[in-house]
């Protein structure tokens, strides 16, 4: 990393953090004054005044810094990708204000996914998993849309504990940032901007009194951005440095491990209990930690550290033990963590 690129990364990290911090404060005030507060229900973990303005603030902070970066530096993202994630952010805003019904939200997610596909990145190869490489176009499109729906909703589902979604999103952007930044400078500045916006939000999210949540705007917006980068990594035409260290599908699964495993577990448990997998409850793993007496920040930090540890272990071991053993090591690690911390 050259001195100038290091400077620009630091500059936009700082700018985005400050913008996000003050925007969160400002928009919280607007929401609070207009009594647009998050209702406290039996599933709520908070008992103080809270708004769901975090997502909007993060979205606006990113837009603001993105505009500066693209006009002063060489930040450029495919317009279809921008359109797709902005569409998802607008869906989130509508959901936060008017409670969009699940089916309608589902169709809007598919629509956004289709827009995102026009950016030219998709899961068109399994990179040797199950011996499968290139996928036929129809299958690539189907798989990509399916994964898109999963990722966007998984981020939405883990947004139930202070700092959890933002910390996992920060982890995602820090790791993917390295992978993408090293290969291409075009999108490099997006990562410090996104991380900065989340850091600015995090301070409000962890606040005891004036609490701010990401809301659907944040989770749908950030989820769609995550999905875009997953497609970018999985697309066989993308040249990324991570190929030397780890299999791309395994890397993506590890990046999204917490939301994915939690979502899968929740869906299985709800189905087993013959309940709709879409009806919200408190059976998430992070709720389990909170119910066991962990404070929110402790639970979030624990999940954050566990997911970073597992990713690091795989990055280190993959070259020596290969895919199958890495998967076995990961499963063992996950089972041990489950019995140690969550059980």
């Amino acid at each position: 990393m050259t001195a100038s690129s290091f400077f620009s990364v630091a500059l936009f990290l700082g700018l985005s953090s400050i913008t996000s911090y003050f925007l969160n404060k400002y928009i919280y005030g607007i929401f609070s004054n207009n009594k647009i507060l998050d209702p406290i229900t039996s599933r709520s973990s908070h008992r103080s005044k809270a708004t769901r303005s975090g997502g909007l603030s993060v979205f606006l902070s990113i837009c603001f810094c993105f505009a500066i970066a693209s006009s002063t530096y060489s930040l450029a993202v495919n317009p279809y990708a921008l359109l797709g994630v902005i569409f998802m952010a607008l869906t989130g805003i509508a959901d936060d204000f008017f409670n969009v019904r699940y089916r309608e939200k589902f169709f809007l997610q598919i629509f956004s996914g289709i827009i995102l596909l026009q950016a030219g990145y998709e899961i068109n190869s399994f990179h040797g998993i199950f011996g499968v490489y290139e996928l036929p176009e129809w299958l690539a499109t189907t798989v990509t849309l399916f994964v898109y729906i999963i990722i966007v909703n998984a981020v939405n589902l883990i947004d139930g504990l202070d700092g959890l979604a933002s910390l996992l999103l920060i982890k995602f952007y820090v790791v993917v940032g390295g992978v993408v930044m090293v290969g291409t400078s075009e999108m490099a500045l997006f990562f410090p901007i996104a991380i900065g916006a989340l850091l600015g939000f995090l301070l409000h999210n962890f606040s005891s009194v004036n609490k701010v949540f990401l809301g659907d705007t944040g989770s749908l917006f950030m989820g769609s951005v995550m999905a875009f980068f997953v497609f970018y990594i999985m697309d066989s035409s993308s040249q990324i440095v991570i190929d030397t260290y780890i299999s791309r599908p395994l890397f993506c699964v590890l990046l999204l491990l917490y939301p994915l495993t939690d979502t899968l577990r929740v869906i299985l448990l709800r189905s087993y209990k013959r309940r709709s997998p879409f009806v919200a409850d408190r059976i998430h793993l992070h709720h389990r930690l909170a119910d066991k007496g962990y404070e929110h920040w402790e639970a979030s930090l624990l999940i954050f550290c566990l997911s970073i540890s597992l990713l690091s272990i795989n990055l280190f071991l993959f070259q020596y033990i290969g895919l199958v053993l890495c998967v076995l090591v990961s499963l063992t690690f996950m089972f041990l963590s489950f019995f140690w911390f969550f059980k």
């Binding site: 406290i40 709520s44 490489y133 005891s208």
Partner: protein
Amino acid sequence: MKKLLIFVVFFSFFSYSQEGLSDYLLVEKDSASFYTFTKEGVYFSSFDENNVLDYRYRAYSKPPPKTFKDVPTDTFSAINLHGVIYLLYPGGGVLYQYSNGAIERIDESFPHRNQFAGFFFAYNSELYLLGGYGYWASKEFLTKFNFESRSWEVVSLSGEAPKGGINQGSFLKAKNSIYVFDFFSTQPESLIDKKNDFLYELNLSKSLWVKKGRLSAPSPAVSIEEAFLSVRTRYGSSLFERAAHTSAFRIIDPLKNVVKIFSAENELSKLSKNSIFVGSKIVYASQSADNKSYKVTFADINSYPVVDEKKHILDNQGLFLKYIAYSSVFLALLVLFLYAFFKNRDTLYSLSDQSLFNEKGLVFISIEEKKILSLFLDSSVVENNVLLELFSDESKSFDAIIKRKNKAIKDLNDRFKEVFSQDLIFKDTDKHDSRQVVYSLAPKTQLISEVKGFSSS
């Protein structure tokens, strides 16, 4: 001076009077000799210890097949397999063998014209043809010559093959693999061939394609026409490449991920497309001034100066590892900061009409206790007399009021301790006036009033 030296050293080409060639094909024999096939016969040429090229000519013992004579000799691809020369018809299909002084057709195939500019090679005593162009599309398939059925068969491959095929590519066989790069692939939507910037490896022992990475030093030939004019030939375990209209040539070693760029000024400008290496000497046929004939010439490339050295494919591992180090520090600092922040942060309790609670538990409170705790909402320290005012009752003595206050605080503390394992309210002396008694909340404790207007569990 340097230029003069280069001029003196590298312009001292050796040539021999195999002049008058109009149509020829050079094929490597060993590290010191080679064949020059023509329509009528073969030249056997070899270098002696003084690097002087000697040759002898031998006419074919019987006339070559008509199909061999119908196409220019230099359009054939040739392989020397265990001393037998195999000559492949342009586009694939028809195969000839040179042995016992004669060229004979050995296949029962046909000129299928699907693999022009494909890579003809031998592996495990078998003959293969990889990629190529034909019928408006580039191909990525591999065909193998079956010596029993005397026909070509498609070899089944797995992995990540180059999408859109391989046309006018650079090929290099090294160990058990074929490295393919700087090629053009047909775009399915437009049927136009577009340059592919990736390096692919075809592992022949596993029949597996692997996409190795993006080229950081691609060929200067950016169009298919320029690629067609480029001279590319194997040089040991590397590939020699000289693009048309350039004053440099490159030695590409995909195994070591190195591209060495050599300055050649105008000296190797007359290299022919089917040049070959014999040891470190590049052998080619130089066109005569009247453009009608060629003479075989050679030049030793060993002493050309290296002007630059690049990575063949992008290798950002160093940068990535540096990034990993920075980001690890960032994440560790974030975790430490959050840990320190929360460890030093006040514990928050919400006060409702009937209870005091947070995420960890709940204590039911009386109206009197609610009044006491309400005093702590704005300040963590409350003077004794302010508390006493809450219990003021003209019908009771002052002592009774004090006892009632103390009992209320003690009861609250006891119940609080049962749930949260600590006292809530402490008795203390005023910092400004040691005669005054004050009550303060436990250290790092903060009370907030419950949000009104929402349904609570």
